[in-house]
């Protein structure tokens, strides 16, 4: 359960971005989490609600986008999406693959309303 820490980090970073614009009010924050990030989407959602309830951020919408696992074939270098677990390369059939994505834990954007 480290989602509270992650959610507060997101909120803090969002506030830093918004504070660069005078009078801007945060409307939405976009986050990307990979299936291998170790972060649970529901727990993160819950953490956002818990941390913003009763504050000036209570209306902020948190858009959580899930990212799939990506593997790269060591034989033909083809990069492809897999489910949670590795799959053989769809191009050449090799099972020799390495992880190429899916552990994202990124703040992608902050949407603000300006006066």
């Amino acid at each position: 359960m480290h989602e509270i820490g992650i959610a507060s980090e997101v909120i803090r970073a969002g506030q830093v971005e918004a504070s660069r614009r005078i009078g801007a009010r945060i409307v939405r924050i976009g986050i990307r989490i990979g299936v291998l990030s170790g972060v649970d989407r529901d727990a993160l959602d819950f953490a956002f609600t818990a941390l913003t309830q009763g504050t000036e951020l209570s209306e902020v919408d948190f858009e959580i986008q899930s990212c799939p696992r990506r593997d790269r074939c060591l034989a033909c270098k083809h990069e492809f999406e897999s489910a949670l677990y590795s799959e053989p390369c769809p191009k050449c059939g090799s099972v020799e693959t390495i992880l190429a994505g899916g552990d994202e834990l990124d703040l992608s954007y902050v949407e603000v309303e300006e006066p």
Binding site: H2, I6, A13, G38, S86, G102, E113
Partner: protein, 226 residues
């Protein structure tokens, strides 16, 4: 409405600290391991056997993380190497800052091998880089062989899987081959070693892995410095 594109890592601050730790380890020629598992898979016992196997001239140091108590540090300090307990006070993982603070108390020139025993947890520690050269995950035969499927993040990020407590295999239904297949589904080609700290079986392979990886790191460092 204005959309401000940000595109940065949520744990960017931890990442920054981890990178600076990594640089610092390289400068001092320190090989660093981050050992992760569920509570009770045998991390501390493995470290006891590991420290026991080193001669007094070896420059090994251990940081061990727990929510509470100094018990693990006490167990490990018996071997005469520097050991520090990091009490997280409820936090479920170690982060870069905790490592940085702990290392301030030691002279890094006196360390060649730094072993970090993370908090017993297969989830959260996988998100926090500690500047290590390799993550190692332990899975004991008294657990479920589907753990790699249930906790794919940590098995995908670990370089080595240690299957521990193999002396108990005859008494439990754990199927070692299934566990290996599951780990390979999540992390194709992951290195796997089987060992028992009670009988000592398989520890020789663990020590070989350790010296091979340390050797590789030193060779890489020499290559970049020459």
């Amino acid at each position: 409405m204005t959309v401000i594109p940000v595109e940065k890592k949520v744990l960017g601050e931890n990442q920054r600290i981890a990178e600076s730790l990594r640089e610092c380890f390289q400068e001092h020629g320190i090989f660093c391991l981050n050992i992760i598992s569920s509570p009770g898979s045998g991390k501390t016992t493995l470290l006891e056997r590991t420290l026991q196997g080193f001669g007094p001239q070896e420059k090994v140091a251990v940081l061990t993380g727990d929510l509470q108590t100094e018990n693990d540090a006490r167990r490990l300090a018996r071997f005469g190497f520097p050991v520090q307990q990091i009490i997280t006070g409820g936090v479920c993982h170690l982060d870069g800052r905790m490592i940085e603070r702990a290392l301030e108390r030691w002279s890094l020139d006196d360390i060649d091998l730094l072993i970090i025993e993370n908090v017993g947890n297969l989830v959260c520690p996988s998100s926090y880089d500690l500047g290590e050269d390799a993550k190692i995950v332990l899975l004991s035969v008294t657990e479920g062989e589907d753990k790699p499927l249930k906790y794919p993040s940590i098995f995908a990020k670990s370089e080595l899987l240690l299957l521990t407590k193999t002396d108990l295999s005859p008494y439990v239904s754990f199927k070692i081959e299934d566990a290996k297949a599951n780990a390979n589904l999540v992390h194709p080609g992951i290195e796997i070693l089987e060992l028992s700290c009670t009988t000592g079986e398989g520890l020789d392979n663990w020590f070989r892995w350790l010296s091979r990886r340390r050797e590789n790191m030193l060779q890489r460092l020499c290559a970049t410095h020459s």
